[in-house]
């Protein structure tokens, strides 16, 4: 047992190291790029005083290492700084929006995960027949569409023409009752579901097919086990790990989909906040949001990693 714990600890440490490097990358990416940052933010017509003030505020005159350590220290103690454009506290703004984003992603995941596993199993069960073929055709189509295209098509049909749900999430209030909240984000949930469903189904299908084609399943079938016993004793335990892996990777993918979908439906979440402030060139906000998105993404990938190690004894002993 000791070896598992140490392998897990090692992975977690690697994840933390990765996060540290990512923070460095995000910081360096917004600092060392060519051009005068202050000039970029204020435009060509800025007065010299305004430029000097902004440079002071950005701390451009201080050495980069010192600024990075300040910023990192702030991150670690949970202080994300203040927004340049509005002077607002970033923690406060993000706290509210992060909750909204997680609410949206949570409901999309609740629908997408069981559906994807079910359809993936269906595709395996009827392999190369029409259910499998139509599932892979749909998959190909949704993979080829950017999130905003699916978003607008569904918004137009379901929201505007049929008027089943509210077309945008403008009216979303976090303190309204659950049903009202769900109505205003019904179409965004559907869009996100479609976006991750395709990937998840494809990967679930591949993962389970991989297990079903292995030699031990054939052995189990040949020694006369019932179909149920083959699946419950041999196929199921071996496919948990790849399937959980698939789920985690797609939840990570959801994090990116959320950015675009929030902009399409004017939903007050993290994604919209990030895009808004990229346009306004509000660097502290962009850094903070970028770091949070990256942390969630890396965290989910790390969980996928840990689960596969726990479920697959062969991975417990690294080469």
């Amino acid at each position: 047992m000791g070896s598992i714990a140490s392998v897990l600890a090692q992975r977690i440490a690697l994840g933390l190291l990765l996060l540290f490097l990512v923070s460095l990358l995000i910081f360096v990416g917004t600092i060392l790029l060519p051009g005068d940052v202050a000039q970029q933010i204020l435009g060509q017509s800025a007065t010299p005083e305004a430029l000097a003030n902004l440079r002071e505020e950005l701390g451009v005159n201080r050495p980069p290492v010192e600024r990075y350590l300040d910023w990192l220290g702030g991150l670690l103690t949970g202080d994300l700084g203040t927004a340049l454009t509005s002077g607002q506290d970033i923690n406060e703004a993000i706290g509210r929006r992060l909750a909204n984003t997680l609410f949206l992603a949570f409901w999309a995941a609740i629908i997408a995960v069981p559906l994807a596993i079910f359809l993936g199993l269906l595709a395996v069960r009827y392999r190369d027949r029409w259910p499998d073929k139509s599932i892979s055709a749909t998959t190909l189509t949704t993979i080829s569409m950017p999130e905003f295209v699916i978003g607008y098509i569904l918004m137009f049909i379901l929201g505007v023409k049929l008027n089943w749900f509210s077309p945008t999430a403008v009216g979303y209030r976090p303190d309204a009752d659950l049903l009202t909240r769900l109505d205003s984000i019904a179409i965004p949930i559907l869009v996100l579901t479609l976006v991750v469903l395709a990937h998840m189904m494809r990967m679930t299908r591949a993962a389970i097919l991989n297990v079903m084609q292995s030699a031990y399943i054939e052995t189990a079938e040949l020694k006369g086990l019932t179909r149920f016993a083959v699946i419950s004793r041999h196929a199921f335990p071996n496919s948990i790990s790849p399937v959980i892996n698939v789920i985690m990777l797609n939840l990570a993918y959801l994090v990116v989909g959320v950015v675009v979908v929030e902009v399409v439906f004017v939903y007050p979440g993290m994604g919209q906040y990030l895009v808004d402030h990229v346009t306004k060139r509000d660097i502290p906000v962009v850094q903070a949001c970028g770091m949070i998105f990256a942390t969630i993404y890396i965290g989910l990938n790390l969980i996928a990693d840990l689960v596969s190690i726990l479920a697959n004894p062969r991975l417990r002993h690294p080469r």
């Binding site: 995000i26 569409m145 990256a294």
Partner: protein
Amino acid sequence: MFVRIPFAAIIGICFTLSFFLIALFAPLIAPYGYDEVVSNGFWEPATSEFLLGTDGIGRDLLSRMIYGLRTTIWIATLATILSFTTGSVLGFLAAVMGGWIDQALSRFVDLLMSIPSLIFALVILSITPITILILILVMGLLDATRVYRLARAVAVDINVMDYVEAAKLRGENRWWIIFREILPNALSPLVAEMGLRFIFAVLFISTLSFLGLGIQPPQADLGGIVKENAEGLTYGIGAALYPAITIAILAISVNLVADWILSRTTSLKGGRG
């Protein structure tokens, strides 16, 4: 040798070809200029004069979309070329050199791939001026990471083949080995991957423009045209759907072609997604 081409691939090839031809001859095909205001009304329905109607400020939607398609394809092609040359040259180099160069490059690529491309692109675009050159550089270099992984994986396999050993013993230098021994043998999986990278570039630039961080008006690519007309959707005007669906059809057709090429080179599976 006669190859039977599956029906889906034929459709894909036809559509892809016509999209590229339209993009190439856009000024000859488009009835009006891309930012020429041709009408006083806005979001007028389709007529024989304006085949898809007009956009929010009275420009011919069809003409604007034809030029938009040209911009999208042009940028996506350049980004794909950039990601391919950088990704495959570095990938081959890492495979041939091995040692610390391989380690450094591979770990750096791991790091870049640990953040979603869109988020990283947004972080960079918050500070750089948004020009076409910078968009191509950002997209091309972020995407080069995936090409790098594939190229390196393929080249590592080829690098231990007898003919490469023979070339090394002959005393050929590294560039000979990369370009004359490895490249010809790695070409088919890389070509299949190229289609997927192109689609990714199309979706990426469309998304960036849609978010207002890509091509800046009055110029527009397909994603930008969706953004311009999106407001009309809530009033029941479907103008934004035409460019949106065009993006989808473009991506699906290239995908059909790429899938077909991929299924013909199944011996080496490329990293998808």
